[in-house]
Amino acid sequence: MSRLMRFAVFWYDFIVGDSAVLAVGAVAALAVTAGLVHAGMEALAPALLPVLVAITLAISLRWPR
């Protein structure tokens, strides 16, 4: 394995770990929240963010490793 490849693998393992669903879901949840806030729907965002996080966690459990 080349040094660059090892570096990339280290950061992938460090941030993504063994469930890409969690990393993608967490980033998507925050992106959706940011979109809501900037669209002027601030009242909806505090309730929606934890729900999106909960859905991400539940989906990630479908592929235990």
């Binding site: 063994d18 469930s19 969690l22 925050l30 965002a45 505090p46 934890p50 996080v53 990630s60 459990l61």
Partner: protein, 252 residues
């Protein structure tokens, strides 16, 4: 604002931030080991001291707190969800309870590294470092904002220092009793705590105003704990149903 009131306000505001930082340090120390937790804490304090010394009161204008909250909140959310997911799988019997050492050896073999170079827990270090840096910056913001408004820094510095001492003493007192709690229960709590802080900071970073302010942390904590309990129960139920179906369909 009178001097005692200024000291008390700075103490309470700083104590809230300190409790958040100490929770993360304890979480890392109890689950990943104290070396990474303490080195991460020391590194966070060093960077914090350098930033505060270099910028002074200009810190309030120059450091992009929202950007830091987004980056740190996102990473904590991902790390917290990873720990919580593993704790749920372990509690539901879908994953071995002590698999870290096997994974560690497997990774060492893959990377071809030596035990000495790979033994340091960078994940634990990073979580502690980021927690201390972000919360420390918030304490610095509190001291500087109160100090600038009052036209004197003494009372707010005194309040913040008192908070540091009190919260640190409480942390030292509770870390031994906490170390007797079963390992997976601690990992559960850590996963829930990091997911809570990650949601809270990440949300604030993207511009979300939590209606209950810092009290939202307690609501998030309770909500994620309830969710984890439901998910463990659901996974156990599914496993039991599959076991029964296999037993009924198998040879008698």
């Amino acid at each position: 604002m009178s001097t005692p009131l200024l000291v008390l306000t700075a103490f309470l505001a700083s104590a809230v931030e300190m409790v958040e930082a100490v929770t993360i340090i304890l979480a890392v120390g109890l689950t990943r080991g104290w070396r990474a937790a303490l080195v991460g804490t020391a590194a966070g304090l060093l960077v914090l001291a350098a930033v505060v010394a270099a910028l002074g009161p200009a810190l309030v204008r120059l450091v992009p707190l929202a950007a830091l909250q987004v980056v740190i909140g996102t990473l904590l959310l991902i790390f917290g969800l990873q720990w919580l997911r593993k704790a749920i799988l372990r509690a539901a019997g879908r994953k071995a309870k002590h698999d870290e050492e096997a994974i560690f050896r497997e990774e060492l073999d893959t990377l071809g590294g030596t035990p000495e170079s790979a033994a340091f827990d960078w994940l634990g270090f990073t979580v502690a470092f980021k927690g201390v840096l972000l919360e420390g910056l918030e304490v610095a913001f509190i001291v500087l904002t109160f100090g600038l408004n009052a036209g004197r820094f003494g009372p707010s510095i005194l309040g913040a220092l008192a908070a540091v001492v009190v919260v640190a003493l409480v942390a030292v007192a509770v870390h031994r009793p906490l170390s007797r709690v079963p390992e997976n229960a601690i990992k559960f709590a850590v996963g829930i705590a990091l997911t809570t802080f990650g949601t809270f900071w990440g949300g604030e970073g993207v511009g979300l105003a939590w209606p209950l302010g810092e009290a939202t942390l307690l609501l998030l904590l309770a909500g994620y704990a309830a969710l984890a309990a439901v998910l463990v129960s659901a996974l156990r139920h599914i496993a039991a149903r599959r076991f029964r179906a296999a037993a009924e369909g198998g040879p008698s």
